[in-house]
């Protein structure tokens, strides 16, 4: 939601510039613009140009020249399509899992928590006080073969003796869902909290039972938060490599892991750049379609 707000503020800022011709708006925009140009626009162009480079025969490792070879994209995609598709599947599953956990949580905080509301909100953000990496490693303990979760599940009669979670795709999805849960919870909370409780009473007054009130009033009114939350979870999850690296196995590598190893291990900059670009473009398309389909482009 935050970045969409930024876009609309940008628009209105441009309008007022045209009206007042004052320098103030430009000066206010300057720090942000300089930041964006230095750390976003220039790197994007640099990344774009790297993506079509070629390593000349016999050159040293890490030396590339520009040859506008767009076939780099095709090669990179074909070589890594499994990881590519897997990234979106994992990110999608993690988003659904996070939504299933975050919605009741946000609902409870917004409507039922009373005086504990602020404490609960702090608890939602509390994990950020510890390093992302450490928290992910902690999950290897929680999901360990002899750990509490697996032992508990093994008590069930039909569970195989070899059942495990660590180093499986399940662990990766759990890790992703866990790590991005606050990004799902907070926007959901923000939009649920804005709902006038009297509209919910009005629904009850107009013959809607609890479930119908949720379906017809609460859920539609929380759509802006739901869309923002799912985007804020899905986008970083699709590009994540930490969870797959720590909680997965070689068969659960995501596109982030490939990009990481291309850049730092293999020093194959063009492939890494091409994959990054493809990932970015795909996410952009998915997000656009998603926002259009959910009909919240006005609401957000």
């Amino acid at each position: 939601m935050a970045f969409l707000h930024a876009v609309s503020t940008g628009k209105s800022a441009t309008k007022s510039v045209l009206k007042s011709r004052s320098l103030t708006p430009y000066l206010l925009l300057a720090p942000g613009l300089i930041w964006l140009v230095t750390f976003f626009i220039i790197p994007i162009f640099s990344l774009g140009s790297t993506s079509t480079m070629v390593r000349p025969d016999g050159a040293q490792i890490g030396v590339y020249v520009q040859e506008l070879r767009f076939a780099n994209y095709v090669d990179a995609f074909i070589a890594n399509q499994d990881q590519y598709i897997r990234s979106f599947v994992y990110a999608g599953l993690a988003t659904i899992l996070a939504l299933l956990i975050a919605y009741p949580l946000a609902y409870a905080i917004a409507f039922k928590a009373g005086k504990y509301r602020n404490i609960l909100l702090v608890l939602v953000i509390a994990p950020f006080f510890t390093s992302f990496l450490l928290r992910t490693i902690a999950w290897t303990q929680i999901l360990a073969d002899s750990g509490p979760v697996v032992s508990a599940i093994k008590v069930l009669p039909f569970v195989d003796e070899l059942f495990r979670i660590n180093n499986t795709s399940t662990a990766v999805v759990i890790g992703l869902a866990y790590n991005f849960l606050p990004f799902m919870t907070l926007p959901l909370y923000a939009s649920l909290e804005r709902i006038d409780p009297r509209t919910l009473e009005a629904a009850g007054d107009l013959y809607a039972n609890g479930l119908t009130t949720f379906r017809k009033v609460t859920l539609p009114l929380s759509m802006p938060g739901l869309v923002a939350g799912t985007l804020l979870t899905f986008i970083p999850a699709a590009g994540d490599y930490v969870n797959a690296a720590i909680l997965g196995n070689p068969g659960t590598k995501m596109i982030g892991n490939v990009i990481e190893s291309r850049f730092f291990a293999v020093v194959d900059y063009p492939t890494a750049a091409a994959l990054s670009f493809t990932l970015m473009a795909t996410i952009l398309i998915l997000v656009t379609v998603y926002i259009r389909r959910s009909g919240t482009d006005e609401l957000v």
Binding site: R198, A202, G204, D205, L206, Y207, N209, L221, L299
Partner: protein, 375 residues
Amino acid sequence: MANNKVSQDTGDLKLDRVSKHYGDFCAVDDLSLIVPDGSFFALLGPSGCGKTTTLRMIAGLEEPSAGTISIGDTDITTQKSYRRNVNTVFQNYALFPHLTIFENIAFGLRRRGVKDVKSEVESALNLVEMAHLAERKPNQLSGGQQQRIAVARAIVNRPEVLLLDEPLGALDLKLRRQMQIELKRIQTEVGITFIHVTHDQEEAMTMADTIAVMNQGKIEQMGSATDLYEAPKTAFVANFLGQCNLIKGKITSRAGDKATVTAKGLTFEVPLSRVATSNDSVFLGVRPEKLRLDDTGVNSIKNCVVTDRSFVGTSTQYLVRAPWDLELVVFEQNDEGLHDLRVGDTVSLEWDPEHTFALDGAGDINAGADLDDEE
């Protein structure tokens, strides 16, 4: 808007010894009330008097701590709000912001599976004269328009009782007057029982057939606007409805059909039928417009001094100090008999015994005064 889906056991709404406690706080205290079917009933009182809590219990949004609520022969005390055939017009309308006006009004009909939603909604829209706004969203409407839609959304369901919770509170004065007439017209047209909660005594008097004045969780007095105004039974009602002059006195005799009251050495007469207490210590009351600036009547106070004067168009309002520590309000109609007094002039006041009433003098003489401006 004929509707066969609705259960048709309409009847009087009855509250029998209903109480509502929040911890130690008693919002509604052993309240009994019968609202006749088809009437326009007002619950009037200052903020915090329990009127909204009473309304919410009828709506099913709060459960009474004790007592029963029934419509006709059906006990609805513990019935869920979505099962009650009672609809509410909420204070700030509580329209669904994500739905069009049409869908807002259709909401209740769709939940009940009514067949002909379109024509029902259209006739409701016509009733409130808002048919041209069907496709708008609530936030594109003005306060007055939203108010009408809120009424339409409730009334389209043909409830047995329509509850209105300070429905005009958010509107400006002119629009409020207009909506008062409008609501009265709608009520007459549809014939549904309206229960209107308000802190505005003028609003209650203009619209309702019967008014119940509430104070501290109890009903002080119930009756028509004229009854309450001309013959209040408590100091609270006398002060809360309009303005009132109350004089502390003592009943010295009850003979025939009249009582004699003395206060500060003066004697006043009041018909026994207008004495609301068996106590001898009383507040003698008279409304400002019943006072005359003359000294010929049975009840009169001489040697008063004008301390303030304000011209308000149809009348001139004087503040007059009696020979003892008491200020009386006098309204004098601006017609031929006008006295045109100045501040500092000495005058006499007189009024007829039949415009006098006597209230129990045990309570607070200022109860209910200056409360009606609060929200």
